[in-house]
Amino acid sequence: MLGSAGLYIATGICALLFLVPFYLIVRNALSTDAEITGENWKWFPTDIQWGNVTELFDDPTVPFARSLWNSAIVGVLHTVGTLLVCSLAGYGLARIPYKHANKIFYAVLVTLMVPAAVTFVPSFVLVSSLGWVSSMQGLIVPGLFSGFTCFLFRQYFLGFPKELEEAARVDGLGYWGAYWRIVVPNSLNFFAAIATITFISGWNAFLWPLVIGQDQEAWTVQVALSSYMTNQTVNFHLIFMATAISILPLVLVFLFLQRWLVQGVAQTGIKG
């Protein structure tokens, strides 16, 4: 249909369009307000403002450094906790014979029908009655028990070669030993893929942190960013510097873990 050159031109134009927003963030982050809001649109800042970085962290109205720190803690603990809890459960459901295993699996599947976002009202009610509003537990713990992640692990372990584990069990390892000594070390690719996806969704989560983070002290970086939209005074260069910094860790994660990530997404997608 298209010649090879035509194909590259079309793909290149699409790629440019996809990159424009990233470019705008960087451009605005390193400009002065006057230049961002000036009458004449400029594609390049005339004078790069590195000082915007320090100004952002010194700004007293939004505790940006604190929120970055919160997001990092929440992101890491959320990821480690989810992997631990959900992979164990997925393995148990896939591999350990138990007469009610099927019923339990259906009980997990049913939770997939109820989207997590819809349950934010009841979850908030529960978490506030536990006294966890504006706390780290409140941000992290309720998100660890993902039916979807458990389901993905179960599907993955169903396809894991049984012979490896059987050899280990003959050698005298129980389920627990076989899991940690044989199954996990041989599944690092899958764990890495799920870890990446979990970390990204944790870092980018907004609704739950917004609901729970009622004190500024408990804001995550997304809530802090959002607060710029409702603030009366608008400092464009600070907003975009904050946006750039909030995206940077994930872009780095992307560039390093691209291959795993693509594999992981493709795997999860096929299983739908």
């Binding site: 249909m1 090879s4 194909l7 079309a10 996809f18 990159l19 927003p21 990233f22 705008l24 963030i25 961002i36 809001t37 009458e39 649109w41 631990l84 809890v85 164990l88 459960a89 350990i96 014979p97 138990y98 029908m113 109820v114 989207p115 997590a116 819809v118 349950t119 009202v121 009841p122 979850s123 009610v125 529960l126 309720p142 396809g159 005298g172 129980g174 389920y175 899991y179 940690w180 000594r181 870092w203 907004f206 609704l207 609901v211 997304q222 959002s226 710029y228 409702t230 907003i239 975009f240 909030s246 995206i247 994930l250 992307f254 691209q258 493709a266 997608g269 096929i270 299983k271 739908g272």
Partner: protein, 320 residues
């Protein structure tokens, strides 16, 4: 890491074993089953089942500013949500949104996948470029869209570019007539999620056996539209179905971009934004909020099951 977690997690083990049965060597599969799945299942009950049950219970009470109400009011909260208009209007907003975003994302991600799939050089590079927005959050993207690209004033990128062609400034988000805000809402989500679904299509495209195309060529099918229509598209059926289902569920959960782009406006509120203001706004009406959550959940389950029936989703579960 593995040694410390092993020690921690086995600590409660002896007590539990002695209570049930004497340990049977490596066997004890019932005990092991609970050892592996127990923590997850306890969490699932506490943080998923109990909130849902509590919510269903709260929805029958007058629960303003309180989560332990005592005034039973039957279906009044449901009546309130379904008759005051805002919630039902939000369902209409959502329907319009889904009707646009689902097919457009499907088409764009499939188109990108077809392009990237055919590339011979720099495949990984272009794939990364299209996938990269997935790293961006809705909040961050909304900021760029609202304050830089679709800003209503002169310095917005869109208005500047349109200005070159003599088009007047457009107030993209500031009024619902004409509803330009849809363009902003749809493009931001499109940019964020198209690359993700492109990856799913790319994986599916790689799984189409090349013999099919060879056979089609022998049968005289012209490359291009004909092979796409009769080979590629049917082979992508399973993935397409999954993608549409995922898109639909994701659309139902739309919150971030609507909240950030249109927070102060009264138009363009999807269900979750409406629920947010009902339950956590000035009224803190947990009863009505819970009723809305129950209605929405039932609706999503219904749509999911209907779609499953029409498109055959889930039937292929045994194949993998």
């Amino acid at each position: 890491m593995s040694t410390t977690t092993t020690r921690d997690a086995t600590r409660p083990a002896p007590a539990k074993v002695s209570k049930t049965k004497p340990r049977r060597g490596m066997g004890g599969s019932t005990f092991n089953f609970w050892l592996f799945t127990g923590p997850f299942l306890i969490g699932l009950v506490i943080f998923v089942y109990i909130p849902i049950g509590w919510s269903a219970w709260l929805s029958f009470f007058e629960a303003r500013y309180t989560v332990t109400p005592d005034k039973f009011i039957g279906f009044d909260n449901y009546k309130l949500m379904l008759t005051n208009g805002d919630f039902t209007k939000s369902l209409v907003t959502f329907t319009v949104f889904a009707a646009i975003i689902v097919p457009v994302t499907w088409a764009l991600s499939l188109g990108l996948a077809l392009m990237v799939h055919r590339l011979r050089f720099m495949k990984a590079f272009f794939r990364s470029v299209f996938f990269l927005p997935t790293a961006c959050s809705f909040v961050a993207a909304s900021l760029i869209w609202k304050m830089s690209i679709f800003s209503g004033v002169r310095f917005g990128m869109m208005n500047t570019v349109l200005g070159w062609f003599g088009v007047e400034n457009i107030a993209w988000l500031a009024n619902p007539n004409p509803p330009w805000y849809w363009l902003v809402i749809v493009t931001v989500r499109l940019w964020l999620q198209a690359g993700f679904y492109m990856i799913l299509f790319l994986a599916a495209l790689q799984n189409i056996p090349p013999e099919l195309y060879e056979a089609a060529a022998i049968d005289g099918a012209k490359p291009g539209w004909q092979t796409f229509r009769y080979i590629t598209l049917p082979q992508l059926r399973a993935t397409s179905t999954a993608v549409i289902l995922l898109l639909l569920v994701a659309a139902y959960q739309a919150f971030d971009e609507f909240f950030n782009l249109l927070s102060k406006t009264t138009w363009g509120r999807p269900p979750l934004v409406e629920l947010y203001y009902t339950a956590l706004g000035d009224d803190q009406d947990y009863g009505a909020g819970s009723a809305g959550a129950v209605i929405l959940t039932l609706l999503i389950c219904m749509v999911t099951m209907l779609q499953g029936r029409f498109l055959g989703f889930g039937r292929g579960d045994g194949s993998k």
